[in-house]
Subunit: 78 residues, 4 copies
């Protein structure tokens, strides 16, 4: 689940391989661009670590982050 830490919403996702991880990133990219709110994210192989906060709000966690987090969870469930 997401945890709030250091003014960021953070969650780590695990997949069976790189192909599944990158397909998930593609879904998140499509939603993030639509919301015009982009993640800070890190990937290595089958792992995707996402951190969300709002640059325009002094890098704090806002409702835009909570909304994107919720959306990402739905994409993860498929």
């Amino acid at each position: 689940m997401w945890k709030e830490e250091d003014n960021k919403l953070k969650r780590s996702f695990q997949f069976k391989n790189f192909v599944e991880a990158f397909a998930f990133m593609t879904k998140v990219a499509l939603e993030a661009e639509k919301m015009n709110h982009h993640p800070n994210w890190y990937n290595v192989y089958n792992r995707v670590d996402i951190e969300l906060n709002t640059h325009d709000a002094g890098n704090t966690v806002t409702d835009r982050d909570r909304k994107l987090a919720e959306k990402i969870d739905k994409l993860y469930q498929g």
Copy 2:
């Protein structure tokens, strides 16, 4: 399921929306590039129609197509 018709392996895939359809296409793209064997494919919104044959074998269906079809089925099942 795949059907063989007009010297092509054909299958149509349906998703709940464009985001899911394009994430599936991304998975197929990653596998196709790895096999150096690329689909003829058509997408509109939540539908992806794939046709496979082998250019280097006079546009007939070969084992390379059957192997890619099998791989695509696994990607679809997730």
Copy 3:
């Protein structure tokens, strides 16, 4: 350039290989999802054929298609 034919805006794009073609498709996918207006498109290897019309307007060409076509041209120029 785009041509209007059979109530569709049509244009074909050529790339140096599949990787470049699919990266272009990813850009178009991101913009199309943002506009909530999706292309009818076909890809084989380094070629991407796009057809645009508006389902909600009886499958005719509307300003939404012209706007997406313009956007796609910009993505193609990079």
Copy 4:
């Protein structure tokens, strides 16, 4: 350019927006999966930071990393 530091090859790439950055990531993903050698990478908006090393060689920089770095540079140039 790439620099070698802490047993990693590192380079940062900048794009005009998220769409261009993610299209670049898609190209890199296609090549990385084909080489079965995946980057450690971080993205935020228009920036992509890549770090390469080889897990199977005790997380040191090997020829596989240098080859992928070279490939990534070519993809960046387009």
